[in-house]
């Protein structure tokens, strides 16, 4: 069922009402058109009632409002609107069951002039006198707080709890005006609910209406003390007489909610037994099993007498009997409601126990400082807790932005412990799932982007392992390294690059895993900083990781790696260097050979000697010379026989002859070294 269908049906009713009013004015009483138009009106209403329940027509000075929308019916309908408005009619509500006689009577009443209506005491008594029971008229009362002021917008704000102060005052004022106005208020609230939720009916609509009543109750809670009980009683009375478009659904909803909802319970508590009985009886008559009685008892946990009295009234009027004691069992009153816990009642407080020492006071006051530094610190910790506990992604991200800004400020001010706490929080986020981890990565990146500009390279290298910032960055580990690497690859400022490298270096093994994949990148400019960083770490793991670089296609990268390995001064660096020993590039190989420690060279002497005949080095005499020098430096006397193969002075190419000269010199040197070593051995 669509809203449009409902509006169409309502529009049909309005057109027929207009036709009936016009024919009443234009034709004599016996004219058949008068009867026909009334029949058509009643038929249209019947069709509307069957599908949509009660029909409500609202007037305004400039037109009619149907289903919450202005009704464009031309001049004729506008005249009808003005006629109704001028007579002080604000709403016409037609409930199901309207007979043709009643419709005719209504037209009679509408045709009266305003003075005649006022003389009869107003529309409401006049309709009663005429026996119109299926139609109600809500009158405008100029000069008073008027229910007509409750626009759909105000209604929406009422539901959301965002009413502005004047609107709040207006609604409370309406309740304060007395039962009649309160009844009209509740009527309007029901109507606005129907308009706001046009597709809902039955139980769903009843729940919506109850939510609106609940919102009114919240207004009462915030009304001035001493007045709230009276206001609640007025609202409760109006609710008990509510013209329920759902045929008792609202009452059922209130009764169902009474066991667990404050507003429903407050409404029931504010009603008299009579009012409650009036509300409950129609619910019982629908033929449902009577949970309502039990709900009623649960809804009045503080007033079992009223529950008993109400049930007696219901029993008397419906002829149904209730097992009152059994129902009262349902009450399940928590013992503390009537009997406070004994231990609390027995708890004794002595004057001595509440004596506060001067020291205690001094400590409290000292904590209550409100200087800027303390406030910023508190705010930082607060934001940290918010970002780690907030589930709303938007809120979390906004909080993170502020948190990072504050963390940077604290870093500038040297409050490293606090910065460390913040980083700890970021680590918690990174350990989370999905959006939370993503937010953590964002925060780490935002913080680390600022960090290189705020730390000096010398300081970073000087940090001890227990330095708060270093400790925290190491805790974050891989993600921090990834961010720093990214920054390093993008950074153009030399000082900052150094700082980033230093930071990466200090991260140590925790960053190696993150760095390893980066070594495989083809772009040398992206790999070189990674190599630098790994070298700066000076750890076995980092040095071993550099072995991968031997496979890199760029010569500069491989050379960098060899240089970097040299700077580590770790014994394990020699093993890694060996990976570069057979590099296809002669210069790299030469560079590598030059970095070999004597022990390594001695260990690899055979290979090195063999390399002198390697075709790849044929055009690189300097590399071969370097091998000779290295072997000599290593005193690798065992390779003398192997060297002799390359020592011949009879070479075709001058570069080979030069190499041979170095080989011979190496042999001589090694023989001398061998002799010295033998003499030493003999002497010993």
């Amino acid at each position: 069922m669509t809203t449009a269908a409902r509006f169409q049906a309502a529009a049909g009713v309005v057109r027929r009402l207009n036709a009936a009013v016009k024919s009443r004015r234009l034709y004599a009483q016996a004219h058949p058109l008068r009867t026909q138009t009334i029949s058509a009106l009643v038929a249209a209403l019947l069709a509307y009632h069957e599908r949509f329940g009660s029909f409500v027509l609202e007037t305004h000075r400039h037109g009619l409002i149907v289903e919450g929308k202005p009704f464009e019916g031309g001049e004729s309908v506008d005249n009808l609107a003005l006629q109704l408005y001028a007579m002080g009619i604000w709403q016409i509500i037609v409930v199901p069951g309207l007979a043709e006689e009643e419709a005719a009577q209504l037209l009679e009443v509408i045709s009266l002039d305003r003075e005649a209506i006022l003389a009869a005491g107003g529309f409401v008594p006049l309709l009663e006198q005429c026996g119109v029971t299926h139609m109600r008229v809500v009158e405008l009362k100029p000069g008073e707080e008027d229910v007509a002021q409750i626009t759909p917008e105000i209604f929406q704000q009422l539901l959301e709890g965002s009413l502005a102060a004047p609107d709040r005052a207006m609604l409370v004022g309406l309740l304060r005006s007395g039962p009649e106005t309160a009844a009209r208020l509740v009527g309007v609230i029901v109507e606005r609910t129907r308009q706001a939720f046009p597709d809902e009916q039955g139980e769903a609509l009843a729940r919506r209406i109850y939510q609106a009543l609940e919102a009114l109750d919240r207004l009462i809670v915030d009304s001035p003390p001493g007045e709230s009980q009276e206001l609640l009683k007025t609202l409760a009375a109006a609710v008990s007489e509510l013209d329920d478009p759902t045929g008792g659904g609202v009452s059922k909803t209130i009764l169902a909610a009474a066991g667990h909802d404050l507003s429903a319970r407050a409404l029931l508590s504010a009603m008299t037994s009579e009012q409650i009985a009036r509300m409950v009886i129609p619910c019982l008559e629908t033929g449902d099993p009577p949970p309502q009685a039990g709900q009623l008892v649960q809804g009045l946990p503080f007033d079992p007498d009223k529950a008993r009295e109400t049930l007696a009234l219901i029993a008397q009027r419906t002829g149904r009997s209730f097992d009152v004691p059994a129902l009262l069992e349902e009450l399940k009153i928590p013992p503390w409601i009537h009997n406070f816990p004994q231990d609390l009642t027995d708890f004794q407080i002595s004057s001595e126990e509440v004596a506060v020492t001067a020291d205690e006071l001094r400590v409290l006051v000292a904590e209550a400082v409100t200087d800027e530094a303390s406030l910023a610190r508190e705010q930082t910790i607060l934001l940290l807790h918010v970002v780690t506990t907030e589930e709303d992604a938007h809120e979390r991200e906004e909080a993170l932005q502020v948190l990072v800004r504050l963390a940077v400020q604290h870093l500038q001010q040297g409050d490293l412990e606090l910065v460390s706490t913040v980083l700890h929080g970021m680590r918690e986020l990174l350990r989370g799932q999905g959006g939370r981890a993503e937010a953590g990565r964002f925060a780490v990146r935002a913080f680390l982007t600022e960090l290189p500009a705020l730390v000096a390279v010398r300081d970073v290298w000087g940090w001890k392992d227990e330095h708060p910032l270093l400790r925290s960055l190491r805790e974050i580990g891989g993600p921090a390294a990834a961010v720093l690497i990214q920054l390093l690859q993008q950074e153009r400022d030399a000082a900052r690059r150094q700082a980033i490298t230093a930071l990466l270096g200090r991260l140590g093994d925790t960053a190696v895993a993150a760095l390893l994949p980066l070594l495989g990148q083809q772009n040398p400019e992206q790999v070189r900083p990674v190599v630098q960083a790994l070298a700066q770490m000076r750890t076995v793991k980092a040095v071993q990781a550099l072995r991968v670089v031997a496979q890199h296609s760029d010569v500069r990268v491989r050379r960098d790696a060899i240089d970097a390995l040299r700077t580590t001064q770790l014994p394990q660096a020699q093993d890694t260097l060996l990976a570069f020993l057979h590099d296809p590039d002669a210069q790299v190989r030469q560079h590598c050979v030059g970095q070999l420690a004597p022990e390594t060279a001695r260990r690899m002497a055979g290979d090195l000697a063999a390399m002198l005949g390697d075709a790849a080095l044929a055009r690189a005499p300097q590399a071969r010379i370097a091998i000779c020098e290295t072997l000599l430096r290593a005193r690798a006397v065992d390779v003398i026989p192997a060297l002799r193969r390359f020592a011949s002075p009879f070479k075709l190419r001058s570069r080979d002859r030069e190499v041979a000269r170095y080989v011979r010199a190496a042999i001589t040197g090694l023989q001398r070294a061998g002799g010295t070593a033998g003499a030493q051995r003999r002497a010993s």
Binding site: E214, L262, I349, V356, L361, T370, E378, L382, H385, E390
Partner: protein, 453 residues
């Protein structure tokens, strides 16, 4: 009950605001403007009937009538206050014999564009050019408006708190920035009241017919926190921070489903988790508040964390909640357990509320803060119905400064207040125990209203 009849002063400011508004919207000869001007002239006459002049000053966004602070009027007439300040009017004085034309001139000053007022040489020159001899205006001052002691009507301050709490809640629902200046207006007034007579607001907090989500709970918590703050000797800034934190401690509840706020009885784990999220929601709402308000966010987050951090939310990296949170935790708990909670549970009697606090010292509540609160309020707080050793029934009306268990009581005879006894002086009589109001058919809140001067 608070007197809801508006004072002449409140009416004057309201009419001045209305006349200015209508004058901006409609031509001077419009019936609405004429009616508003007539009303304004009438109320100015009424106010000057028994005095030679009436002087309004604006200081820290608050109207003062001579030395009387008008917090509630300042909040209700915020646009008038802004209009004055924008035109450089920090003081305006109407003198006896002021003709309607001059009142009209003053309204025209408030509706002239600020730059035009400046072009005319300022507000005083503007009025002088129109020969408004019965009106004096001065520029806003940075010092207190008077050297005389500032007076605040406690009820006015209390009502201002209520207005502010509701307004801030609406702003939070609409996700608008919170207007902390308004909170400051209430707090300035409340601090004045508390410093002047720390018990004068206690009687007003005796209304117990609300629940935790009510603005009354926010205001009462704020007042109780200020009392603890003054007992600790906190300075004005610290009191403001504390009051703000207390006023807004439950603001996060606007993001908890209403059905849950309204629910009575037990919550299932999911519901409990949703409800407990109000602390984080509160911190998020208050996250961007600047200045002292930053502590309000901390309080909103931590007020259920418990002294031993066994509460919620978890606060890693904290050894204890912030001291402001610890103070608010105590007063919040007291106000909650002693309020009616409208059908969700029977309220504890004030002295049982005190026992509730005392039983939680060292675990839920900070022992030092709790003891300060217990000493301040007394073991039998104001509003307690007590039976005395001489068989009489008494209502506690003032705590004792020296003996926590010997407050001042007023005897109750035939449901009305009788003679007062200071039990700290009259040592032969002592309290034998607290009584349930329903059991003796007495309404302590109503009796306290009688007792209020």
């Amino acid at each position: 009950m608070i007197n809801r009849k508006p004072s002449v002063v409140a009416t004057l400011l309201r009419y001045l605001g209305t006349a200015s508004k209508h004058r901006t919207m409609y031509p001077a000869e419009h019936p609405l403007v004429r009616r508003a001007m007539e009303d304004l002239v009438q109320v100015v006459d009424l106010l000057l009937r028994d005095r030679e002049m009436v002087t309004f000053q604006i200081f820290e966004d608050t109207f003062f009538l001579d030395n009387v602070m008008l917090p509630e009027e300042s909040l209700r007439n915020a646009s008038l206050l802004t209009a004055c300040l924008e035109r450089g009017v920090g003081l305006f004085q109407f003198r006896q014999g002021i003709p309607p034309a001059e009142v009209d001139t003053f309204v025209s000053l408030l509706t002239t564009l600020p730059q035009n007022v400046r072009a005319a040489g300022g507000a005083a020159a503007f009025l002088a050019a129109k020969t408004a001899a019965h009106i004096t205006v001065e520029a806003p001052k940075t010092s207190r408006p008077t050297e005389a002691e500032i007076e605040v009507d406690p009820a006015n301050a209390y009502q201002a708190g209520h207005t502010v709490a509701q307004e801030l809640r609406v702003q939070a629902v609409r996700r608008q920035p919170l207007d902390m200046n308004k909170a400051r207006i209430f707090l300035n007034a409340a601090i004045e009241v508390v410093l002047d007579n720390r018990f004068s607001l206690l009687g007003l907090t005796a209304n117990r017919d609300y629940d935790e989500a009510s603005s009354y709970h926010a205001v009462n918590t704020s007042i109780l926190a200020l009392l603890v703050g003054t007992a600790l000797g906190l300075n004005h800034d610290q009191l403001t921070a504390l009051g703000m934190g207390a006023l807004l401690h439950d603001i996060g509840k606007v993001r908890v489903p209403q059905a849950l706020i309204n629910k009575t009885g037990d919550f299932d784990p999911q519901e409990r988790a949703l409800l407990e999220r109000h602390a984080v929601h509160g911190a998020s709402i208050l996250r961007d508040v600047e200045g002292l308000g930053r502590l309000a966010a901390v309080v909103a987050l931590e007020h259920h964390a418990h002294y031993d951090l066994s509460g919620y939310p978890r606060l890693p990296g904290r050894e204890r909640p912030n001291v402001y949170s610890r103070i608010v935790a105590v007063v919040d708990a007291y106000d909650t357990v002693t309020s009616a909670r409208r059908g969700s549970g029977r309220p504890l009697r004030p002295e049982l509320g005190m026992k509730w606090i005392a039983a939680g010292l060292g675990t839920v509540f900070d022992p030092a803060v709790g003891k300060v609160f217990l000493q301040l309020m007394g073991i039998y707080p104001v509003g307690s119905l007590v039976s005395l050793s001489n068989g009489a029934l008494g209502l506690v009306v003032r705590p004792s400064d020296t003996f926590a268990d010997r407050p001042q009581v007023q005897l109750i005879r035939e449901s009305a207040l009788g003679e007062a006894i200071d039990l700290a002086v009259e040592t032969s009589v002592y309290i034998t125990g607290g009584l349930e109001p329903d059991d003796v058919g007495v309404d302590p809140a109503a009796l306290l209203q009688q007792e209020q001067p």
